[in-house]
């Protein structure tokens, strides 16, 4: 059973890679954000809202620069722009590497959250979540935000 599951997963991986590559080639080099990153869980706005309600220790990092954040941000989120992100700055925001941490930026096209996620992966954080859709989807979904 375990073998079969692995096989299915592998197949899915291959399939998704294929879809990704084909969509990449179809968009002729326009950079599309990957939908998933290995070792990182991508989450929706509803998942994020649920996690926030259920887990007070959840660390949400706003990877936008200041200009983006000024248009509104998720309450309780910590501002750490991707350009300022490294293992040291992360360590200041996240107490230990076992803490769940969510990264977001403006939208699925902004890329800053992905940069930060990559850095966090390198810095060996174990529970990384990527709110890929970003603040715009959060706001339009009707979830509360601060300004």
């Amino acid at each position: 059973m375990q073998f079969i599951n692995k096989q299915i997963l592998f197949n899915l991986f291959l399939f998704s890679t294929l879809v990704l590559s084909s969509s990449l080639s179809a968009s002729e080099g326009k950079k599309e954000m990957p939908t998933t990153v290995s070792g990182v869980e991508t989450i929706t706005s509803d998942q994020l809202a649920t996690m926030l309600i259920e887990n007070d220790d959840l660390i949400v990092i706003d990877a936008r620069i200041k200009k983006g954040r000024s248009k509104g941000f998720i309450e309780s989120s910590t501002h750490l722009a991707d350009v300022d992100t490294n293992c040291d700055t992360l360590a200041k925001v996240i107490p230990n590497k076992q803490r769940a941490v969510v990264f977001y930026c403006t939208s699925s096209k902004c890329g800053r959250s992905l940069n930060s996620v990559s850095i966090a992966l390198k810095c060996d954080y174990k529970k990384i979540y990527w709110f890929r859709d970003g603040f715009n989807v959060w706001k339009s979904s009707g979830y509360p935000f601060k300004k």
Partner: protein, 876 residues
């Protein structure tokens, strides 16, 4: 084009077509312009509608954003959060009122109409509603609240907004949690959407009016009143939310775009004008092309045809054509037709001219002939009537018969000439050459013509220039014909002087040359050119003066051409007016090597074969059937036949002959060719088919070869030409009947067929015509002359004895014998005596006997004058 036809010309059709095309083009342009205008206007409306919809949606979105911003900023204020948590209603009421007044008094986009705070379970905590339109209302948007209460879990933390209706007036409502993801209350905000509309006017650029569902004005741009009309107003509904029961706005836009309309009008007019021009120009070009390629060439052709009608000289005139279009093909066909026609026409003209000339000539000839034939006929009939009436004197009788005979001969000559001419015209003149003695030929010519020339007191000499061929191969009859014709002409046109005939031979060209010379009236040079033409004499007055058919020279010329070598057979004339003429021609005497050339008269003379067999007393026994429809000919030929001793039966036509032949077989049948009831040819054919073996000789007036052939192929043994040559007749009688040997005296031939006039220069002597022909008969004539007194005595005695039988017999004997010995006057007198006997006027006979005595004396005198009786041949 025929003028009575009501068809229009091609040009008219073209003009009609052009006009119709123009009208059609105009209508098409009008339709196109209108359709274009309609489409453009519809398009414009659609664009305006879409634009307004999009603008409204944007404005609505921005309102929602602003309301949410407002709500968020309210909640974020510490004072608000603090006071709402206090649960003190008054405090909250104050707060809300303060906030509401602040927002309401703002002249921004948001015109807040209500504000309230709800507990989490939506039991109302406190509210402030300040709304001019509905001051009594204290219930917020029910739809929104109902929606909110049904939410669970995280969805309760979401902000919701929508449009609600209050008394058909829409308003915007928003519900947002207070306390973030762990709400402890909800903030409710309401606003009037009207303030968001004014930017619409600028963004779409047109006067606009926005009404609620129940026609309550929500917004109207400044210029709306003066600019909107029913025609230019675009009206449509706008749904404020996606829900089916969404509140709606009625949008009116004044599409008062004058410049657009003007543009459209202009465009439509331009399209129409261009369409019209294009149509007209196209039509004009087509008209021009058709005019050039069809109408003009056809007009040219028809003009040409018209001018042809007026002037036929236009035939053959070509119309210039180029190219290969149908009209050009037509023109080129017309050209070839007109050329062919002109050629045919000119041929016809030439033909008609020829025909007219030939007709004119024939008419002239016929007129001439009629005159010529009538002249001798008049004489013949006139003198015949003289003979018929009363008792003519012997002199009168003699004169009359002589005139009749002369005229008959002339008539025969005319007919022979005409016959020859018709043969020549039909190219049927046949030349049959035989070897003959040149001397004999010239003797024959002399015998025929000499006396008549001498009668005119002219000297006639035949000059021989030796060497001359003894025998020549030629057509004897034709050669004689030429010579006699020329000599007769010479005699006719000469009053004094001489007529000479020269004969010579040219070795180099191997020709025998004849020249007839006279000292007559001669011919002018212009006359010399025309005399050889058929039907013409030197001039028309000549005919009147001298008579003649005018055919002789023409025939002679053709005959001489036939007899001569190809290059020198021409009959030529040399003449001087008033001094005489020379007619010369040359004939081909046959193969040069076969000729025997004589250098003197002795070797040249050939003895006469005695064709004129006056002393060959033919007597035959046998029976002859004479088939002849004319009684006169029956009598004449019958008499001759009886004279030679044949018994003669008569049949009037072929049928009678057939009947007779069934009963009897004849030694000889003489069959005339042309007879009524049954002709000669048919009769002969029938007889031969019945195995009739007797000899048949056809008598025919047709000298053509084909007639002769027809006779032979029908089964005839021979044929004879009419008028009958008595010697030829005798030859045939001798051939088919049994000849008897008889004495001279028993033979008598009535010489009515070829009477000859005794010719002398002196009335006191008579010379026998047979001596004139041949001197060797002189002895025979002398013997006869010695017997003549006995004949006269016998007649005189019989008359005295009143022995009529004896008288008749003696007179009859003398009649035949006298003529045969060349004394026609004896015959003439005997005939008179016979008449007297017949009429029993015996008293009139003695003067006749005296006449005979007188004749006898003259004969004796003639015998005593040998110089007078010798022939006229004077060898050179």
């Amino acid at each position: 084009m025929h003028p009575t036809h009501k068809n229009f010309s091609i040009r008219t059709y073209l003009y009609i077509t052009v006009t119709l095309m123009g009208i059609l083009g105009l209508l098409l342009a009008l339709a196109t312009g209108n359709i274009y205008r309609e489409v453009t206007l519809n398009n414009n409306q659609q664009i305006i509608t879409n634009l307004v919809n999009r603008q409204l949606t944007q404005l609505s979105d921005s309102l929602a954003e602003e309301m949410r911003e407002l709500a968020t900023s309210l909640i974020s204020e510490n004072e608000f959060s603090h006071k709402t948590k206090s649960n003190n209603k008054n405090v909250i009421q104050d707060l809300l009122t303060k906030q509401f007044q602040r927002q309401f008094s703002d002249e921004g986009q948001i015109k807040l109409t209500g504000i309230a705070i709800y507990s989490v379970d939506f039991s109302q905590i406190q509210n402030v509603i300040k709304d001019d339109k509905a001051p009594e209302r204290n219930i917020a948007c029910k739809k929104l609240l109902t929606e909110a209460t049904t939410r669970t879990g995280i969805h309760k933390t979401k902000t919701y907004f929508t449009y609600c209706n209050y008394k058909n007036s829409p308003y915007f409502a928003l519900l947002t949690p207070i306390g973030g993801l762990r709400p402890y209350a909800f903030l409710y905000l309401e606003s009037d959407p009207s303030p968001v509309f004014p930017p619409l006017r600028n963004s779409i650029g047109l006067p606009i009016q926005i009404m609620t569902d129940n026609n309550k004005l929500m917004y109207e741009s400044d210029e709306w009143e003066e600019s909107h009309t029913n025609q230019n107003t675009i009206s449509f509904d706008y749904a404020l939310t996606q829900e089916t029961d969404s509140p709606k706005l009625q949008i009116n836009v004044a599409n008062n775009n004058k410049s657009l309309n003007m543009k459209l009008e202009k465009t439509r007019n331009a399209v129409m004008l261009i369409a019209l021009l294009v149509t007209l120009i196209t039509a004009l070009i087509i008209t021009w092309i058709i005019q050039k390629t069809v109408v003009t060439p056809i007009r040219t052709l028809s003009d040409q045809l018209k001018s042809l009608k007026i002037d036929r000289k236009q035939l053959g005139k070509r119309v210039s054509v180029s190219g290969n279009s149908e009209v050009n093909i037509l023109a080129s066909e017309f050209n070839s037709m007109t050329v062919e026609l002109s050629e045919a026409y000119s041929e016809l003209e030439i033909f008609a001219k020829k025909e007219k000339n030939s007709n004119d000539a024939k008419s002239a000839f016929l007129a001439n002939m009629t005159h010529e034939i009538r002249t001798p006929l008049t004489a013949i009939i006139g003198f015949s009537k003289v003979l018929q009436s009363g008792n003519p004197s012997p002199e009168k009788l003699k004169k009359s018969t002589n005139i009749i005979v002369k005229n008959s001969e002339h008539l025969l000559q005319i007919i022979n000439d005409i016959l020859d001419l018709s043969k020549i015209e039909e190219n049927m003149l046949e030349i049959s050459k035989n070897e003959i003695s040149l001397y004999q030929l010239l003797q024959d010519v002399n015998n025929i013509i000499a006396q008549s020339i001498l009668d005119k007191k002219l000297s006639f000499v035949i000059h021989y220039t030796y060497p001359l061929p003894k025998f020549i191969t030629t057509d004897e009859i034709r050669l004689k014909q030429i010579l006699i014709n020329l000599l007769a002409n010479a005699k006719k046109f000469t009053d004094k002087g001489h007529v000479y005939l020269y004969a010579s031979y040219t070795t180099e060209s191997n020709t025998v040359n004849f020249c007839v010379e006279d000292t007559g009236i001669g011919l002018s040079s212009s006359q010399q050119k025309t005399i050889f033409n058929a039907f013409t004499q030197a001039d028309s007055s000549t005919t009147k003066k001298f008579g003649g058919t005018g055919l002789g020279l023409s025939i002679s010329r053709i005959l001489s051409q036939k007899l001569g070598h190809e290059e020198n057979g021409e009959l030529v004339v040399k003449s001087e007016l008033g001094h005489g003429s020379q007619f010369s021609f040359s004939i081909d005497p046959g193969e040069k090597n076969n000729l025997t050339l004589c250098s003197d008269l002795n070797s040249f003379i050939v003895e006469d074969e005695l064709e004129y067999d006056f002393d060959n007393q033919l007597q035959v026994s046998g029976n002859i059937l004479l088939v002849e429809d004319t009684i006169d000919n029956q009598e004449l030929i019958g008499t001759i036949l009886k004279d030679v001793g044949a018994s003669v039966s008569y049949a009037n036509n072929g049928q009678e002959a057939l009947d007779l032949c069934q009963e009897e077989v004849f030694d000889l049948i003489l069959m005339d060719m042309q007879m009524p009831i049954m002709g000669g040819l048919e009769a002969v054919t029938t007889l031969r088919s019945r195995d009739y073996n007797g000899a048949i000789v056809m008598l025919t007036a047709n000298a053509f070869e084909k007639e002769k052939q027809a006779c032979i192929s029908a089964g005839c043994d021979n044929f004879l030409m009419k008028p009958l040559d008595i010697n030829a007749l005798f030859d045939n009688i001798e051939k088919y009947l049994t000849p008897l040997d008889v004495s001279l005296t028993s033979r008598s031939i009535v010489s009515t067929i070829s009477p000859e006039k005794n010719t002398t220069l002196d009335d006191s002597i008579i010379v026998s015509t047979i001596i004139t022909k041949n001197g060797k008969f002189k002895n025979l004539v002398e013997i006869f002359a010695q017997k003549l007194p006995d004949f006269i005595r016998h007649i005189s005695e019989a008359l005295d004895k009143n022995d009529i039988e004896q008288l008749t017999q003696h007179v009859h004997q003398l009649k035949g014998v006298g003529g045969n010995y060349g004394f026609i006057m004896i015959t003439d007198v005997c005939i008179i005596i016979e008449d007297k006997i017949h009429e029993k006027e015996y008293g009139d006979i003695p003067p006749c006997i005296d006449e005979l005595q007188s004749i006898y004396a003259k004969i004796i005198a003639g015998l005593d004058h040998p110089s007078e009786s010798s022939n006229n041949i004077k060898p050179k």
